[in-house]
């Protein structure tokens, strides 16, 4: 999968760093990474920057991941944008609900390069 720009949305700077590192180790070392600490900031950023993939956590202050994804799907520009969830809170039921919102998958933390490759490819 070609990913020039990847947006990482997570309230933890450590988690954003780990996600970025895992993508780089999975072969996306030349991608540009844009970071946001919650859904609100991510939406605002997406107004200005087009990205190829959004990687988001679920448990975040201000706007959680599920709400963020629902809002993404209401905006023409981001309606079809691929979204991947990386969280310690996912479950099968939520996965089914979010699949309806065209979510690529839910990866459990701790993230590893292998998990990235399994879902996104190299």
């Amino acid at each position: 999968m070609k990913l020039d720009k990847i947006m990482i949305v997570d309230d933890s700077a450590t988690s954003r760093m780990i996600i970025k590192r895992c993508f780089q180790m999975a072969g996306y070392q030349d991608s540009t990474f844009i970071e946001a600490e919650d859904g609100l900031k991510a939406l605002s950023n997406l107004n200005r920057n087009a990205v190829d993939l959004v990687v988001t956590d679920l448990n975040m202050p201000k706007m959680d991941g599920a709400t963020f994804i629902k809002k993404l799907r209401l905006i023409d520009k981001t309606k079809q944008l691929p979204v991947l969830i990386v969280s310690s809170m996912g479950n099968e039921r939520l996965e089914t609900e979010l699949e309806d919102k065209d979510v690529m998958g839910i990866l459990r933390k701790p993230l590893t390069p292998e998990k990235v490759t399994d879902v996104v490819g190299e």
Binding site: S15, G90, E92
Partner: protein
């Protein structure tokens, strides 16, 4: 809520701790053969609401705290800010909490956690006596995880 025995909780906590510290910080963890005293360098606390209600308290000596943070950041301790260190340890506890609940249930269940926090003293937890305390060993260094499970369902 189904009855969770202390042994079940300990086994789930050990697997979750091994997975979390192993994959995030490349640190091997085993069950401690005996409880060893240590000077606490960091206290971290998280609550969980689903699939069971309870609280988790992680007490780390300075040696492990440093090793975890340095390994995750791939940087020297002196290069890291207090915010970076706190955020790193809080994220670790967040992941540990989610892993523990899934290990406890032995399946991929709905997990609901609070935001983790740093504690400055054990006195912030008034009913500490109600916690089960488990001792682990991280490559020769002791640390403890204390767990309280609550009766009523979320």
């Amino acid at each position: 809520m189904r009855e969770v025995t202390k042994e079940q909780a300990k086994a789930a906590l050990l697997r979750a701790t091994q997975n979390t510290l192993g994959e995030m910080a490349f640190i091997d963890v085993i069950e401690a053969e005996e409880q060893r005293d240590f000077e606490t360098g960091q206290l971290l606390f998280i609550e969980f609401y689903k699939p069971v209600r309870g609280r988790l308290l992680l007490a780390l000596p300075l040696e492990i705290k440093r090793e975890i943070v340095e390994n995750i950041h791939a940087a020297d301790w002196d290069e890291l800010s207090v915010n970076e260190i706190d955020d790193c340890l809080l994220e670790l506890l967040n992941v540990l909490g989610g892993n523990f609940l899934r290990e406890l249930e032995q399946k991929d269940v709905k997990v609901h956690l609070s935001f983790p926090t740093v504690l400055f003293s054990l006195e912030e937890i008034p009913d500490l006596d109600s916690f089960w305390k488990f001792s682990f060993d991280a490559e020769g260094n002791p640390f403890t995880t204390s767990l309280a499970l609550h009766e009523e369902e979320a």
